[in-house]
């Protein structure tokens, strides 16, 4: 028998990194006795090491809490812990559609950050009721009144009755639980006898159970043994296991309207499940699928190559395993003259790229060379056809190209007044167009229209460095626009090095070319001959440096007893060469490929 809708509250938590989302979630779980005290560990919901370490949530997690409220009734609270990063904006928007309210957690010492804004607007778009929670009020620097005012100013929601808490000490947590019951709405409607209509909120691969699907029931009832169909992908499955998270899996017989839970059904790959899809019964389907479905599309691409070419097969294995659990990440084999065999991979954004790269390096212990991140350019050919360019190395002959379009983003940056000038300069330098500039207290909020290719490069690092870490940054994909873009090649000893090719704006090419050549001159060790390092567009050289020949590299003393020792040194040298890539006659150390692309400007 399903729980009455009036006793269900489904909600998510919106917060910036470090503002206390996971700690609050832990407290809610703890206070309601959902997990025995001895089983508690910090950040119950962030299961992956990388999530714990970076303090971010990558996959949606969920927990069902029984809460005996002050009105004498016991409520079921379903918390969906959504991914907190813009790379996963679509996943966030789907999670938000699966619940009716949000807790907006803001650090009472820090205030609103750019990331909070994006997610809170997603919540508002999903018609959420929002309960404001000011965290860390135990700290001396806490200014709850000022921050509440800031929330009203910036976000435009009423923060006068915000819950004042310290997730760390536990102060105010009971108030949060009461506010969830009193101020957040129950699921709007739902007919347990109607044809099944459920949203696929998330899915992941479990080595024992196969793919686990997180669902929110809108209408109808899902029972163990049911035969279901995914309306967008057409996949048909039997429900083997049905349950809820507390946060450990607990089997249930059925899930009714308003409820959130999981099922498994011998689904082999996460790729077979699409976030936002509608799940219905095969025999008695609902008429229309839920609105808003769109398959997630990678926007940032880069090449991943093993440092040791012998590890290529290991890399393939690790990528295939990661892809089992991450449908949004695409890959295909790539061959580079400089770097050998590797994979061209597509990601939802830069963080997604970093997370995947870190996981390969850490969980599979493979050292990687990452080539310059690139975006998808639309190439309009003179014959009227349009190509998508994922890799600058594949750029067709410019004489056949009519024009190029590049993706642009709408970036929101919150920055203390003192650093505003630097931020504006950075955005201008990156071909940004200012859309808005407003003040919130002593902080400025700037909105810029920026080319994505200028952002994937090292924008975030630069922003952090010019603002000493005080700026927060978020972006949304905007549109494709034509611009004067060219492929810049780097030639080392007159040979083009494909892995160093980049797409740049013509106006910035000279500067970038010069910087790149100068950097490579420092990164490539002197060799037995002099080496020209050039940047070129088409056939035209736009920058040039010369690495002079090695002058002295000889062992002063070498006698009978040294033969063995010096030979070992040479062998060590040769082993070191493994870390170099032979390019024509030139050996280029691996770190050159990575460092050359990081510009200090």
């Amino acid at each position: 028998m399903s729980t009455p809708l009036s006793r269900i509250r489904n909600f998510s938590i919106v917060a910036h990194i470090d503002h206390g989302k996971s700690t609050l979630a832990d407290r809610l779980i703890q206070l309601t006795g959902t997990v025995a005290e001895r089983d508690m560990k910090a950040q119950m919901l962030d299961a992956m090491d990388i999530e714990r370490e970076r303090g971010i949530t990558i996959k949606a997690n969920t927990v069902r809490i029984d809460y005996p409220a002050q009105d004498g009734h016991t409520y079921i609270l379903n918390l969906i812990d959504t991914p907190g990063h813009v790379d996963f904006a679509y996943e966030v928007s789907r999670s938000m559609r699966a619940v009716e309210g949000s807790l907006l957690v803001v650090d009472a010492t820090q205030g609103v950050e750019a990331q909070t804004l994006a997610n809170v607007y997603t919540a508002i778009d999903a018609d959420h009721e929002i309960v404001t929670v000011l965290n860390k009020i135990d700290l001396p620097a806490a200014e709850p009144e000022r921050i509440a005012e800031q929330i009203e100013d910036v976000i435009g929601i009423d923060a006068s009755n915000a819950c004042l808490i310290s997730a760390k000490t536990g102060v105010g947590i009971p108030d949060v639980l009461e506010a969830i019951v009193k101020r957040l709405p129950p699921p709007h409607s739902g007919d347990p006898d109607a044809p099944l209509k459920a949203m696929l909120v998330d899915s992941w691969y479990d080595p024992y159970l196969g793919v686990v699907v997180l669902v929110r029931i809108m209408d109808g009832t899902l029972k163990k043994g049911d035969n279901i169909r995914m309306m967008r992908t057409g996949g048909k499955y039997g429900v083997d296991k049905l349950g809820v998270f507390r946060p450990a899996m607990q089997d249930v017989k059925e899930l009714g309207p308003g409820e959130i839970g999981f099922f498994t059904g011998s689904i082999k790959q996460v790729r077979d499940t699409k976030v936002g899809d509608t799940i219905t019964h095969e025999k008695r389907p609902c008429e229309t699928p839920l609105p808003g479905f769109k398959p997630s599309i990678p926007v940032v691409f880069c090449g991943l190559f093993p440092v040791d070419a012998a590890e290529f097969e290991d890399l393939r294995d690790s990528i295939e395993k990661l892809a089992l659990n991450d449908a949004s990440f695409s890959f295909e084999m790539e061959t580079s003259a400089a770097l050998g065999f590797g994979f061209r991979c597509g990601f939802l954004g830069l963080l997604h790229l970093e997370v995947i790269r870190d996981r390969i390096e850490r969980e599979y212990n493979i050292e990687l060379i990452t080539t310059a991140p690139s975006v998808i350019y639309h190439i309009f050919m003179k014959d009227g056809s349009v190509l998508e360019l994922h890799n600058p190395a594949d750029m067709p002959d410019m004489s056949k190209v009519d024009h190029l379009e590049e993706p642009r983003i709408k970036a929101t940056i919150l920055v203390p007044d003192d650093y505003l000038g630097d931020v504006l300069k950075l955005c201008q330098d990156r071909r940004g167009i200012q859309l808005d500039l407003t003040y919130v207290g002593n902080r400025a909020m700037v909105v810029y229209d920026l080319p994505l290719n200028e952002v994937v490069f090292d924008f975030h690092d630069r922003l952090k460095s010019v603002t000493k870490g005080y700026a927060s940054f978020d972006y949304q994909m905007d549109s494709y626009r034509e611009d004067n873009l060219v492929k810049m090649q780097i030639l080392v000893n007159d040979e083009p090095v494909d892995a160093l090719s980049t797409m740049v704006h013509r106006d910035r090419a000279d500067m970038r070319g010069r910087a790149m050549c100068a950097k490579l001159k420092d990164l490539i060790p002197r060799q037995m001959f002099k080496i020209p390092i050039q940047a070129a567009i088409g056939g035209k050289v736009i920058a040039r440096e010369t690495l002079s020949a090695l002058r002295k590299d000889v062992t002063a003393k070498c006698y009978g007893g040294d033969a063995t020792r010096k030979k070992k040194l040479l062998e060590k040298q040769k082993a070191g060469k493994k870390k170099m890539r032979q390019f024509g006659k030139v050996e280029i150390p691996q770190e050159a490929f990575i460092s050359a692309l990081k510009m200090d400007e």
């Binding site: 002197r526 060799q527 037995m528 001959f529 090695l550 002058r551 002295k552 590299d553 000889v554 062992t555 002063a556 003393k557 070498c558 006698y559 009978g560 007893g561 033969a563 063995t564 010096k566 030979k567 040479l570 040298q573 040769k574 060469k577 006659k585």
Partner: protein
């Protein structure tokens, strides 16, 4: 039982190929010093007392053991290295030389070199060494500036060195001395004038080494801790090397090896054995030896720690290991050693060992870069190539 076969597989009747090309010599290592120099990574130890008689017997026994298996060879040279061999008594030196004389026929022009510190105490022994058979000394002068000698941890001063040289010149037929350059804060002009002075003092041979900071030395630790400032960069070091070649050749000294310069006929015959990849026996703590035929070559290594070596030597053999070198190792060593010489190496001999070393394409590339010359059977480095020899060798290894 004592004369077990130390060199299994070595066909002593049929060693023509190697010893005719490279010669046959004996290296004797004396591992003791009065003080450890901060740049030195050789096997040297400072101890309060050495039982000379016991050491002399152990060295002589080791020589006899090796000699039993190679008695048909003609010995071209003996070299006492260290450590500080001039801390050996003349009696010890004599015992060793006599043991060698018992084992092998000495070449008519046998070269017997002893490395010596240019200190008055040791100079007093020169006559005794000469009587024992030593006919060449190599003096560790190292520098002709008082402050630099101190920095290098040397116990002698400039005047002592000059006196030692004068005595050596009167006692021995042949005299060489060492200098270390590319020192801290040394300018090109400093070195030019110091080398000029050295050439005026020189007899027939000079070893001129650029200071190298080796792992496991006091200099290494100092450099890592951020000390040892003012060492020359690559360009200054290269200029200094070139100045060295110019001044020496003007003065009539040919650079027959990377760091060695000699008047005609005065090359170190013993060291040429190493560079021509001939056969040599290594006797004493940490000494290495090479002995073999065209296809099989034994590499020996003696126990490095002096006390340990003595124990083993007295118990029957001071060798810690002996192993066959495979042909690619032999070829690699021959390449590395041979290209140090002005005369170059025999590329046909090299290819008989391993034809994949110094392949025609790799050689042609280096010829194009004016780093090596390939002239009939001879492969040798140009002056420019010798200055980047490590890279040249690396490029020629398969």
């Amino acid at each position: 039982m004592r004369f077990e076969n130390l060199w299994p597989g070595v066909l002593t009747q049929n060693n023509l190929e190697n010893w005719q090309i490279g010669g046959f010599g004996l290296y004797v290592h004396w591992p003791f010093c009065e003080a450890k120099c901060p740049y030195c990574d050789f096997n040297s130890h400072v101890v309060s007392h050495v039982d000379q008689g016991r050491w002399a017997r152990a060295l002589a026994d080791e020589i006899r053991r090796a000699g039993a298996e190679t008695s048909d060879r003609v010995l071209g040279s003996i070299f006492f290295g260290g450590g500080t061999p001039s801390l050996m008594t003349p009696e010890t030196v004599s015992t060793v030389i006599e043991a060698a004389r018992d084992c092998w026929t000495f070449a008519n022009d046998i070269e017997i070199t002893l490395e010596a510190n240019p200190r008055s105490v040791e100079v007093q022994r020169f006559e005794g060494y000469a009587r024992a058979g030593v006919n060449r000394v190599s003096l560790g002068v190292q520098a002709l500036h008082a402050s630099d000698l101190k920095r290098l941890g040397r116990l002698h001063d400039v005047d002592e060195a000059k006196t030692a040289l004068a005595v050596a010149r009167s006692v021995f037929e042949r005299v060489s001395f060492d200098l270390i350059y590319a020192r801290q804060n040394q300018t090109l002009d400093d070195w030019r004038s110091e080398l000029g002075e050295a050439l005026d003092m020189a007899v027939d041979h000079l070893s001129l080494y650029q200071l190298t900071v080796e792992e496991g030395t006091a200099f290494w630790d100092r450099a890592r801790a951020g000390g040892l400032r003012g060492l020359p960069g690559e360009d200054l070091a290269a200029d200094m090397y070139e100045v060295t070649q110019d001044l020496c050749s003007t003065a009539g000294y040919t650079a027959y090896e990377v760091s060695n310069h000699a008047r005609p006929g005065a090359q170190s015959r013993h060291n040429l054995i190493y560079w021509r990849y001939g056969d040599w026996l290594g006797i004493g703590p940490g000494a290495h030896g090479r002995l073999g035929t065209a296809t099989q070559r034994v590499a020996t290594v003696a126990w490095r720690q002096p006390g340990l070596w003595l124990q083993h030597a007295e118990a029957g053999s001071g060798l810690e290991s002996r192993a066959f070198l495979d042909v690619s190792d032999q070829a690699g060593e021959y390449l590395m050693m041979g290209l140090r010489l002005d005369e170059g190496l025999d590329i046909e001999r090299l290819h008989r060992l391993d034809s994949t070393v110094a392949g025609p394409e790799a050689v042609a590339e280096l010829v194009d870069l004016d780093l090596v010359l390939w002239d009939g059977p001879v492969l040798r480095t140009t002056a420019k190539g010798r200055l980047v020899l490590n890279s040249v060798v690396a490029a020629l290894l398969p």
